[in-house]
């Protein structure tokens, strides 16, 4: 029948057209990709340093237009997992990898500190008084042992401040995070009870408190709940004009959290810095050191699998710890102190490709 043959033709024509179009598009896509193939260096990991890394990638492309970076801020845990499985060229983490995690990696992973961050205790009280805390007070508040703002122990440390008769509402992070790690690492160091009862981790079993998701969740809850206390990143607190509390450091001085006091924390720990930089900076020695600070690290393999990418990566890292250190302060991160930079230089020089050093000899 005529109709049948026509519809047959139609079907055949349609199939052919579809085949031609799809082949055309696929080849076009492949061609486009190969033509625009600049070097793309992939990284993934911590969310905390994402703003400064973004800024660095933008600035570095002016120095070396051939090196494009792509960073996915999926969290420190994700960063560690991806670099272990070699799906990315570098990882990023707010907390140092454990020995167990390092042993699972197919090669030796190096920790490169990039910037410093600090965690501050923020609160919501009428009149926004400037509060001071001692280490044991913070631990006891978060353990649930101090439940009211007008507790005499708090009053003793804050003379002249009228503390109200309100219950203290603790707010912590509900999601796993490097910020939490820094906070509980500090509390574990200053309180034996915390160390035994709760311990260290990116997520812990909090004795008391409500959980907010992200820095924004915690600050949102603190801002909306009179009598609340919570911990957030310094950068976040400054940007959102949250009240910052001073904490007494190891040397006995009450230090206000700031970029300078954070860098001082690293300088204080620089004398005893281990070669692999896997150090906790909380409660360090030093007069002006803010006690609740930490590095954030980039994770790279000592033996790089690709020469071109490896060289670009190492050159970027060198730039980041030198010229790049003038950008963190604007974004409210603390730059690395000079003695630590010197140590990192030695580590960067150890990165090799097939036995050959990737950085030209100085």
């Amino acid at each position: 029948m005529n109709v049948k043959r026509f519809s047959n033709h139609r079907l055949v024509l349609q199939t052919m057209l579809f085949a031609v179009l799809s082949t055309g598009m696929l080849s076009l896509g492949a061609f486009a990709q190969s033509a625009g193939a600049q070097m793309l260096i992939n990284g993934a990991g911590a969310t905390f340093p994402y703003p400064i890394y973004s800024k660095w990638f933008d600035e570095y492309i002016k120095v070396d237009p051939g090196a494009r970076f792509n960073y996915q801020s999926i969290g420190s845990g994700g960063g560690i997992r991806q670099i272990t499985e070699r799906t990315v060229d570098f990882g990023a983490s707010d907390g140092p990898m454990t020995d167990e995690q390092l042993s699972k990696a197919p090669g030796q992973l190096l920790h490169i500190p990039t910037v410093l961050g600090a965690v501050v205790a923020t609160y919501n009280l009428e009149g926004n008084p400037a509060l001071r805390f001692t280490p044991d007070l913070l631990a006891d508040i978060f353990l649930g042992k101090i439940t009211k703002w007008n507790d005499p122990r708090l009053g003793a440390v804050n003379p002249g401040v009228a503390l109200p008769d309100r219950p203290i509402i603790v707010v912590h992070r509900s999601d796993g995070s490097g910020t939490t790690y820094i906070w509980v690492d500090y509390l574990s160091k200053v309180s034996k009870e915390w160390e035994q009862k709760v311990g260290r981790g990116t997520s812990v079993n909090w004795p008391v408190g409500l959980g907010g998701k992200g820095n924004e969740g915690v600050s949102g809850q603190v801002k909306n709940t009179p009598g609340a206390i919570g911990y957030v990143e310094l950068a976040y607190a400054i940007q959102n004009k949250l009240p910052l509390s001073s904490v007494r450091n190891e040397a006995g001085k009450f230090v206000e959290p700031s970029i300078k006091s954070t860098t001082a924390a690293a300088a204080g720990a620089a004398k005893n810095m281990p070669a692999d930089f896997r150090v906790s900076l909380t409660n360090p020695p030093g007069e002006d050191a803010y006690p609740i600070a930490s590095f954030t690290w980039l994770l790279v393999y000592k033996q790089q699998p690709d020469q071109v990418k490896g060289q670009a990566l190492v050159k970027f890292l060198w730039w980041a710890i030198h010229e790049g250190q003038k950008y963190p302060a604007d974004l409210l991160y603390a730059p690395l102190p000079a003695p630590v930079v010197k140590q990192i230089e030695t580590t960067l020089e150890q990165i090799t490709f097939q036995g050959k050093r990737l950085l030209a000899a100085r």
Binding site: K4, S7, N8, L11, I74, G75, S76, G77, G78, I80, R81, Q101, P167, I169, S174, D175, G176, S177, V198, G199, R200, G201, T202, S203, V204, N205, W206, G209, L210, G211, G212, K213, G217, G220, Q221, N224, T225
Partner: protein
Amino acid sequence: MPEVALPRLDHASRRHRHWGDHVFRLLARCAALSLLGLVVTLVLVMGRAALPSMRAFGWRFLVTSTWDPVAEVFGVLPLIYGTIVSSMLALLLAVPLGLGAAIFLAELAPFWIRPPIAFLIELLAAVPSVVYGLWGIFVLAPFLRDWIQPTLGASLGFLPLFQGPPYGIGMLAAGVILAIMILPFIVAVSREVLLAVPNTQREAALALGATRWEATHVAVLRYGKSGLIGAILLGLGRAIGETMAVTMVIGNRPEISLSLFAPGYTMASMIANEFTEATSDLYLSALIEVGLLLFVVTVVVNALARLLVWSVGGPVQRGRE
């Protein structure tokens, strides 16, 4: 007349189908089977990943309350409790409201007002979950904390349900937000079910001297009962799986408390909160087991809902009668 072997003109017989039809049948079959395969693969992969946790904890996983990632002890009883309580609270608030709206739209409203109201209610379903969460933190929680919770605490405070300090954030806030989110689903499906009730039923009731409410109650609601229950179960299924909005207002505290003012935790919120930073294998495996549990619960609830809506087979079928 001698028997002549006539050629078979049965167009359904395989050999006489057009080859295009064969291709079409094959493609359609592949599409259906691949979807089924996807679900089966999902369950198998999750099951395999959850195996280490299942072996380590066994039944204790479902009945203990400690969730400690540092000590690697995991128990999800508070999560199950939180999921069930927040969903039930949402149903308690949304079902009367939703059924009432559906009855209004199907029976009582003047015809010109039905499309706009139905449209507006269905718009609620289009609002993203995160937006509900933000509204919850900045509008609902302060409202609950400053007005509703103190009033409830003062008047009904003798009940353990309304005891405790008013945070604003907590199980009550989660229940209210979930109720708003499942409302459009309940209204839409109930309205369809009610509209499908044949007019003869209503006419018969009215002819027997029933009032408007009696006619609606006896003739329409009772007739479409299984369909309505199906709509409610659909809303429940949605409430159980809701993640973002709940995690922003529920307080994220894995504890069982009788009070609605207390913070709680749901299975979906736990996974959303802790999955990215779960570094150890047992921790990851425990979270995947929570996911598997949530999946099983959601499938069971949804399957029940579908069966009920379909079993409306006999009495309530569109267009018949």
